[in-house]
């Protein structure tokens, strides 16, 4: 157990730009939720009436008319979705099994202000600054403490995707 706090002058840190925390790729998420299965694209374009019905049933905003979905070889569905919070944008997937139950939810990308620190290019600027800092900070700052992102909008998104599945995908 060892720790120390480093206070880094902001001049050595590039302005925080909107960057992404990448967790899984789409293919990795498919295999994490439905290991060994194959995926057939089955996108759905919602008509005006369907958007209204979905809004009414799910009580969640419908941001796009195109639903990015895949049918799995085991009879499940895999849906890619994106939601927006006040300071962030979250891209995530939901796996729904053949019985309509949620098999898994995985966040693929989380874009928010400070996440730029994960980016190797951001660190590249850091290394050039002074040798002492470069030595102390070799590696990446992969963790953030203090930013509690609310996931209320993911809850809404999940409700909308489940309603989309119940109303259209499972009947397709």
């Amino acid at each position: 157990m060892r720790f120390q706090l480093l206070l880094i002058p902001p001049a050595l840190i590039a302005p925080a730009v909107v960057q992404a925390a990448n967790y899984l790729t789409l293919e990795q998420a498919q295999q994490a939720i439905f290991p060994g299965e194959t995926f057939t694209p089955a996108d759905l374009v919602l008509g005006k009436e369907q958007v209204e019905e979905l809004l009414r049933v799910s009580r969640s905003p419908v941001l796009r008319s195109r639903v990015r979905a895949w049918k799995t070889s085991g009879g499940g569905w895999f849906v890619l979705d994106q939601v927006y919070g006040r300071d962030d944008r979250i891209t995530y997937v939901i796996g729904i099994d053949a019985s309509g139950a949620v098999r898994g939810i995985e966040i693929l990308v989380c874009d928010s202000g400070y996440e730029g620190i994960r980016n190797p290019r951001w660190l590249g600027q850091f290394y050039g600054a002074t040798h002492a800092v470069a030595g102390a900070m070799a590696g990446t700052i992969a963790n953030i403490s203090g930013t509690t992102l609310s996931v209320e909008h993911i809850t809404e998104g999940v409700r909308r995707v489940l309603a989309t599945h119940a109303l259209y995908l499972s009947r397709g």
């Binding site: 060892r2 720790f3 706090l5 480093l6 002058p9 967790y23 900070m137 700052i141 953030i144 403490s145």
Partner: protein, 309 residues
């Protein structure tokens, strides 16, 4: 449950996944395991977090917390050993902090609109405190006055610890579980953690380097609100019932995340006076305000604050 496979250690393999849990984003990163092994282990970690969420959510009617809030005044309520362990820890810290940390502040949080009122539970007595909770035999608890408990100030840290424990048998080289900023690191490498305090553009950026420790941070800054003519926020002083941390940011480093999580509230309320509680748990705190900058409190573990110019 997870069954360990043939160990295959290599530094290059890193797998990180995130899920919406505990009202925030919970991420788990493992290094040194092939992806399939890592996925199995991460699933075990998420399952441990989901279990804590199911048991200790204030929002879910079937949770131990909701059942206690409904029935523990009338009769002893039996809870899961994990819930009981968190209650014991919460009560110990309440006692050590002379009630500054108190899981009975839920009534105030409901009044301020931060938590929804629990269903089918009678109104709490505003004078009730942690002293009115009795932990009995066989994982039972009982209330001696009408009160509502909320484990929101401690359960996230506990969930992180359980996830670390669930992942350990997989033998990852390095493991980090982060539940919305309450995190724990286990393994051989040093992790860097940005302490995301609000700061002016010219202020230093705080980066913590840790090995095998838990870290939790709390701040009321981004959640400040008004309730009538009083300030309100997610952190409440257990004795005075007033909001704490409205202008400060606190990070606590401790051997476990559950302790770090709970002690952030004690430090927010008491600053340097929290030192005896911190020392008792081998914890150290970093306190920040925009006016005063960073201050270190305690240091049972070696402490080295560097100002690099």
């Amino acid at each position: 449950m997870y069954s360990p496979r043939t160990p295959c250690i290599s530094r290059a393999d890193s797998t990180e996944r995130a899920r919406p849990l505990l009202g925030t984003t919970v991420s788990i990163r493992l290094e040194g395991l092939p992806r399939a092994c890592a996925n199995d282990a991460i699933d075990c970690g998420f399952a441990a977090v989901e279990c804590v969420q199911r048991l200790m959510s204030f929002h879910e009617d079937a949770s131990d917390v909701s059942r206690a809030n409904r029935d523990a005044l009338a009769r002893p309520v039996q809870v899961h050993p994990q819930t009981y362990a968190v209650l014991r820890q919460a009560q110990a810290i309440a006692e050590e902090s002379a009630g500054v940390f108190d899981i009975c502040v839920a009534g105030r949080l409901v009044e301020w609109g931060i938590l929804p009122p629990p269903r089918a539970a009678g109104p709490p007595d505003p004078g009730a405190s942690w002293r009115d909770i009795e932990l009995g035999p066989e994982y039972t608890l009982r209330f001696h006055r009408p009160l509502w408990i909320d484990l929101g100030g401690i359960a996230k840290g506990y969930a992180v610890d359980r996830a670390i424990e669930a992942i350990a048998p997989a033998g990852a080289w390095q493991c980090v579980v982060n539940a919305g900023g309450d995190l724990r690191v286990a393994g051989r490498a040093t992790e860097r953690v940005l302490l995301d305090a609000e700061r002016d553009p010219g202020d230093a950026v705080a980066v913590l380097e840790i090995e095998n420790l838990g870290v939790a941070s709390s701040s009321g800054l981004r959640h400040r609100r008004r309730h009538g003519d009083r300030a309100a926020g997610p952190h409440v002083h257990g004795r005075t019932g007033s909001v704490i941390g409205a202008r400060s940011f606190v990070s606590v480093i401790a051997p476990t995340c559950v302790v770090a999580d709970a002690l952030t509230k004690v430090v927010m309320a008491q600053r340097r006076r929290a030192l005896p509680v911190l020392e008792r748990h081998g914890a150290t705190a970093y306190w920040h305000s925009q006016r005063l900058g960073w201050r270190a409190i305690g240091g049972a573990a070696p402490l080295s604050t560097e100002q690099m110019q």
